[in-house]
Structure formats: structure tokens, C-alpha cells
């Protein structure tokens, strides 16, 4: 097979794959800026920032964010603590028990979230009853149940992250500290914890994100404290608005920002390390010239561009007023609707004439009173019904005529497209 053909097809495949992965997020972000009342890209109406304003006035969303933050903090503390304990236990557990123990603590990752939520709810409900506490006790509190339910499986993620670093830990360090007279708690706090700190930080971030976005477990346990995800699910299930796109845009932007920030930091550390390695002894003794934040650091450049773009957008949002454009679109829609009314009227008129001609042929002697009125067809079924068979001869026309006019004068008809 031709190598260049293979290479091209790989790139095409990568492009399609990442389009599938990132395309939906991009499209969703764009819909946040369209003034159309339904989140969509086309037809593009006006650039607007009104959905962001609407988002920040939504009390349920704000309340959800608050609950999510509280639950996230609780979950981070509990699951990092349990994950660390679980990882420490894994490194020193009796070898025969090791496989069983590992299976037990890894299982929550594979158990469906729905099952975890139900089992948490059922179990703590039973404990609550056994202790004879009421329905409003601490044990049936939504925040408590959600933290417990989420920590069950998030602790497994934390454990996996922490155990990877713990395997590189030299136990001799702790032993040395103990020999030098430290207590176990001191050795843990001064030796092991600083070593584990990067892993603990990543585990905490992971735990917070997992808690923040969890739906399956939380939906059974949240009680009276709906999290942001729960609120979003309610909203999305019963009608979607671009305000959700606005929220999604904010989350996407924050994610990209922190990913770039992290990447830029890592890259800089690498560059500094490389510079140190290449530096001569004199340079090290004197002032070492470290690479600046931007040199050779693609991520940092992107980061700054991203920040500038954000500031520009926010600045525009402050100054920009889409009222004129929205008014234009409304006007356009009104004209369009009016045109449609005209067309309908014309159609009606023609139909009426046609029928008149037919009726005229049938019975010329009796003129129809309804014919004088412009809206004659609306009332036609009543007037015609008693007099002749014509109306039953064309039953298809009459109902459609009625509904046609009915819609036109319905005040909602102008808004249906919005």
C-alpha cells in the first residue's frame, strides 16, 4: 500500500474522529450567541449575549451551583481520604487477601451509577429507621446521601491515581524518619504527604469534576438539594433554551483555559529543566538565563490568545446592543407572517370564487349571505350546511380553511418561529 495514501487516510480519520468529539461542543457553544429562542445554528438571527444574562438570573441554576459546590467539597475530602487509606492498605495488605481486596475497591467503578444511588438510598434509609430517627434526620439529608453515594465510586478513582504514585515511594524514607525519632503521625505528615502532594492534587481535581458532573447516582440521592447537573437535566428534558448553551459555553471555556494553563506550566517546567541541564557551570554559578514563559511554549501562547479573546468578547458584550438587530429580525418575521396571511387570503378568495361559480351553476336563485363577508369561509359550514350539499361535497377544503384563518389570527402565530 502506498505510504502517502496511508498517511493521508490516517489524518482524514483523525480529523473525522475529532470532529465527532469536539464538533458538538463547538456547535453548542455557538448556539449560545444566537438570539433564536431555540438553541440552533441556522438560521442565524443576531449575535446576542442575552442568554448569559438570563442564565445568571436563574435562581434554580444558581442554587444548583451552590449545592454542587458544597457536595463537591464534601466528596473531595471524603473520597481523597478514603482513596489514600485504600491505596496505603493496598501496598501492605496480606498477599492472600490482596486480590479480593482489590476487586472490592475497584468494583464501584464498574457498578452502574444507578445501582450505587439506589443501594445508598436503601441502606441509609434502613439505618435511619433502625436508629429510630425521623424523616428529616441527618442520615436522610440529601447532601449527606449524595456525598456518601458519590464517594463510593469516586474514591476508587482517587485510589487508582494515588496508588500509581505510592508505588514509587521509598519506604526507607519513612523508616529513616522513625529511626530519627519521629512519631508515625509526624512521618506521615512530613515525609509521605509532601511526596504524595502532586497525586493528591490530581486526585482532588478528578474527584471534584466527577462529583460535579455526576448524574446517575445523584438523581436518586439528592433529596431537597438538587445539584447543577440535576437542574440541567430537568431543564433539558422539559424544553431546551439557549441559556443552557450559555452555561455550556462557560464550562467549555473554563475547561480549555485550565487545560492550557496546566499544559503551559508543565511545558515551562520542562524547558527550565532542559536549560538547567545545558547550562555550563559558570552560568549556574552566576545568573542562569531561564527561558521566558513564552519561548518555545505553544500552550502559553495559546493561553494568552485565549485570554485576549475572552476579554474582547466580554468587552464587546458590555458595549454591544443587539436590540436593533433583534427588532429587525422581528420585523422581518412579521413581514413574512403578513405575506403568508396575504397568500392565504388570496387562496381563500380564489377558493371562494371557484365555489361561488360552482354554486352559481347549481342554484342561481339563492345568493349566499355569507358571500358578502370577507371572512365568509369561516362561517361557511353553518350557512352552507343547511342550504345545500356543496359543503359536504368538499369536506377537505372547509376544515383547512378554518384552521388556516384560525392560525393567522392566533396571537401566537407570530411567535411560533421564535
Amino acid at each position: 500500500m502506498n505510504m502517502s495514501f496511508l498517511r493521508i487516510s490516517i489524518w482524514v480519520y483523525l480529523a473525522i474522529f475529532f470532529a465527532y468529539l469536539l464538533g458538538p461542543l463547538v456547535i453548542m457553544s455557538i448556539t449560545a450567541f444566537n438570539s433564536s429562542g431555540f438553541p440552533r445554528m441556522s438560521p442565524w438571527e443576531c449575535l446576542t449575549f442575552q442568554w448569559f444574562g438570563e442564565l445568571f438570573q436563574d435562581q434554580r441554576i444558581l442554587n444548583g451551583i451552590k449545592n454542587s459546590l458544597i457536595i463537591g467539597a464534601g466528596t473531595v475530602v471524603l473520597s481523597v481520604a478514603m482513596g489514600l487509606a485504600g491505596a496505603l492498605m493496598l501496598t501492605q495488605i496480606w498477599p492472600k487477601l490482596r486480590a479480593t481486596y482489590y476487586t472490592i475497591i475497584i468494583a464501584p467503578i464498574l457498578i452502574p451509577g444507578v445501582v450505587l444511588g439506589i443501594s445508598t438510598l436503601v441502606f441509609w434509609d434502613r439505618i435511619n429507621r433502625m436508629l429510630g430517627l425521623g424523616a428529616d434526620s441527618f442520615l436522610s439529608n440529601g447532601i449527606f446521601l449524595t456525598v456518601i453515594g458519590q464517594s463510593t465510586f469516586i474514591a476508587s478513582y482517587c485510589m487508582l491515581v494515588l496508588v500509581a504514585r505510592l508505588q514509587r515511594y521509598d519506604l526507607a524514607l519513612t523508616e529513616a524518619a522513625l529511626d530519627l525519632g519521629a512519631t508515625h503521625a509526624q512521618a506521615f505528615r512530613k515525609i509521605l504527604l509532601p511526596f504524595m502532594r502532586p497525586a493528591i492534587a490530581s486526585a482532588a481535581v478528578l474527584a471534584f469534576l466527577a462529583s460535579f458532573e455526576n448524574y446517575n447516582t445523584t438523581t436518586f440521592t439528592f433529596g431537597e438539594y438538587p445539584t447543577l447537573t440535576i437542574e440541567l437535566a430537568q431543564k433539558v428534558r422539559y424544553g431546551i433554551t439557549p441559556a443552557i448553551s450559555a452555561l455550556a459555553f462557560i464550562i467549555v471555556a473554563l475547561t480549555v483555559f485550565f487545560a492550557l494553563l496546566n499544559e503551559a506550566k508543565l511545558k515551562r517546567q520542562e524547558l527550565v529543566a532542559a536549560a538547567r541541564k545545558e547550562a555550563t557551570v559558570e552560568e549556574l554559578a552566576g545568573k542562569i538565563k531561564l527561558p521566558s514563559f513564552f519561548s518555545g511554549n505553544m500552550a502559553a501562547v495559546l493561553l494568552v490568545m485565549f485570554a485576549v479573546a475572552t476579554i474582547t468578547v466580554v468587552g464587546t458584550a458590555m458595549a454591544y446592543n443587539p436590540a436593533q438587530c433583534i427588532a429587525d429580525v422581528k420585523e422581518e418575521k412579521r413581514l413574512e407572517a403578513e405575506q403568508r396571511i396575504q397568500e392565504l387570503r388570496k387562496q381563500r378568495e380564489e377558493q371562494r370564487k371557484q365555489r361561488e361559480a360552482e354554486q352559481g351553476d347549481a342554484q342561481q336563485s339563492t345568493p349566499k349571505p355569507s358571500n358578502n363577508s370577507g371572512f365568509g369561509n369561516v362561517f361557511a359550514p353553518n350557512t352552507l350546511g343547511g342550504q345545500d350539499d356543496e359543503s359536504s361535497a368538499e369536506p377537505d377544503n372547509q376544515p383547512s380553511g378554518n384552521s388556516g384563518f384560525g392560525n393567522v389570527f392566533d396571537p401566537n402565530s407570530l411567535k411560533t418561529d421564535e
Partner: protein
């Protein structure tokens, strides 16, 4: 005190040892084992109002499991056709989603694992970013695309390929795309981890010996990547069978996912034991299915999660 425990406390000190042991026991027993057992117990009990719980009527019964198979007592049908159909549909669809994900992710994992360079890190970030976005919002994004006035329909109708908008949601295409989308990362990373550690010389050797590219994959890469493939497939299968958000948002009005039935039992019918029984059936079936598949493809349990 048994020897193991004494060693443990000697090594960690009494206070630290107690803290570690306490947390681990709380996690494994209090959060993992007891709730599952409690749910199992609960699923064998009748649905009683709170005052009657623990009373004479609170006896073990198979009623909840019978309901799934035979439907309500005195019902017109001999089997609970609706719920059973949803159950099998969920399992089959989850298998299809898993296979679909495996097929589209394998080339990516292979490419990322075997090529070197700076752009790999950019790709990794691009892979992770969608995973950090809320599950609900990911489903919402797909709904914008697949909706009746969504991007795809506007595009195809605008181009004149279709005359009328195609209802992706009613035909469940949106649902399968959404489930596949949600768990791509869980398929790629285990495979990537394994393929990355494959020595490129093995591939070179196979190529030098004249193997065509498909045989290199079939005889060298796939056997080596089997642990990664199996853990990826296990995770995607379990998570898509247990998914709730994507079916709720992207599923058609007439098609249900089994987790939605469980959700209805809990929230709409207020029949917790019934819901617990359904959850147990789902969990046990999924585990048995995964174990059977692992035996079929000769994968060891210990390879999972590596």
C-alpha cells in the same frame, strides 16, 4: 490480636493505623458491601407503607422478580413483554455501542500509542476536554445537532438530499451516537496505555518478515493489547447499560432504557423494592455477561483495570 494486624499497627503506628483501617473499613463495608447486600435484601420484600415495615407482612417474597418475567398478577399477557423487551434491547444496544466504540477507537489508540511527538499531547488534551464537560451538556449538544430543526437536518434538507427532516431522535440514532460519544475516552485510554508499551521493533520485525498490515494487527498488536481492549470494553459496556442521562435526553418518546424503568419504579411508582429488584437483575446480568465474554475471549480477571 492476629499477626497481620499487629504488623500493620507496628508499621503505621497505632493512631495512623487506626485511621487507615477505619477509613478502609468504612469504605469497603459501609459504602460498598453493606449497601449492596441491603439492596439485595430489600428486593425480596413486598412494597409496604412505612408503618408496616418490620410487621407481620414483611416477609421474603419473589414477587418483585416474578413481576419482571410474568407481569402484574392477573394480567392479560403470560409474560411481561414490555419490560422484558426493554431489558434485552438495553443489553443488545449496549453491546452494539461497545463494538462501535471499539472499532472507531482502535485506530486512534494505535496511532496515539505508536507515534511520537509533541502533537500527541495536544491530541490527549483534545480527548480529555469533552470528558470534563457535564454528561448532561454532552447529551444536550447532540440534541442540538440531531433535533428536528437541528444542524444535521438543516444541512441535509438545505442541500436537497432529503425532502423532509429525518427524525433522528425517534429512530434512536441520536441515542446510540450519544452513548458512543459519552464513553469514547474510557475505551481509548486503556487501549492506549497497553499499545504504548508495545515495542515498535516487534511491528518492524513483522513487517520485515513480509506480513501485510492487517496481519500485523491481527497477530501482533491485538493479542498484545488484549488486556487494554477487554478493560475498555468492560467499562463501556457496563456504563452504557447503566446509562441514564443519555436515554432520558436523547431517547425517543416510545423507547425506554432499562435504567429508566428503574428510575420510574423509584420516582413515579414509589415502589422501591421493585426498583431494587430491577437494579439487581441489571447488575447481575451485566456482571455475568462480562464474565462470560472474558471466558470466551480467554482474558484473565487480573488483566482488567491494569
Amino acid at each position: 490480636m492476629p499477626g497481620f494486624l499487629r504488623d500493620f499497627f507496628n508499621r503505621n503506628g497505632f493512631g495512623m493505623g487506626l485511621a487507615i483501617l477505619g477509613l478502609v473499613l468504612f469504605w469497603t463495608i459501609g459504602l460498598i458491601i453493606l449497601p449492596q447486600l441491603s439492596m439485595l435484601d430489600f428486593s425480596f420484600r413486598p412494597n409496604l407503607p412505612p408503618p408496616e415495615i418490620g410487621g407481620p407482612k414483611d416477609v421474603y417474597t419473589l414477587e418483585n422478580y416474578k413481576y419482571l418475567i410474568y407481569g402484574p398478577e392477573g394480567g392479560s399477557q403470560s409474560y411481561n413483554a414490555v419490560d422484558l423487551r426493554v431489558f434485552f434491547r438495553t443489553l443488545i444496544a449496549a453491546v452494539c455501542v461497545t463494538i462501535f466504540n471499539l472499532i472507531i477507537c482502535y485506530p486512534i489508540a494505535y496511532y496515539l500509542g505508536q507515534s511520537k511527538g509533541n502533537h500527541i499531547r495536544i491530541f490527549a488534551i483534545m480527548l480529555i476536554i469533552p470528558y470534563w464537560i457535564n454528561e448532561i451538556l454532552r447529551a444536550f449538544a447532540l440534541r442540538i445537532i440531531f433535533g428536528e430543526t437541528g444542524v444535521l437536518n438543516t444541512l441535509f434538507v438545505g442541500l436537497g438530499i432529503w425532502d423532509t427532516p429525518f427524525d433522528f431522535i425517534r429512530n434512536d440514532i441520536a441515542l446510540y451516537a450519544g452513548l458512543g460519544y459519552a464513553y469514547i475516552l474510557l475505551m481509548i485510554f486503556p487501549m492506549y496505555n497497553v499499545i504504548e508499551s508495545l515495542d515498535g521493533n516487534q511491528i518492524e520485525a513483522a513487517r520485515d518478515l513480509g506480513a501485510p498490515w492487517w496481519r500485523i494487527h491481527w497477530r501482533v498488536v491485538i493479542p498484545y493489547a488484549k488486556p487494554g481492549i477487554s478493560s475498555g470494553c468492560t467499562m463501556v459496556f457496563m456504563l452504557s447499560a447503566g446509562a441514564l442521562a443519555a436515554p432520558q435526553i436523547l431517547g425517543g418518546p416510545s423507547s425506554l432504557w432499562f435504567t429508566q424503568l428503574i428510575y420510574q419504579q423509584f420516582n413515579d411508582n414509589n415502589d422501591w423494592p421493585q426498583g431494587a429488584a430491577y437494579a439487581i437483575v441489571l447488575l447481575v446480568t451485566c456482571i455475568l455477561f462480562v464474565l462470560a465474554m472474558m471466558r470466551l475471549f480467554k482474558v484473565n480477571m487480573g488483566d482488567i483495570g491494569k
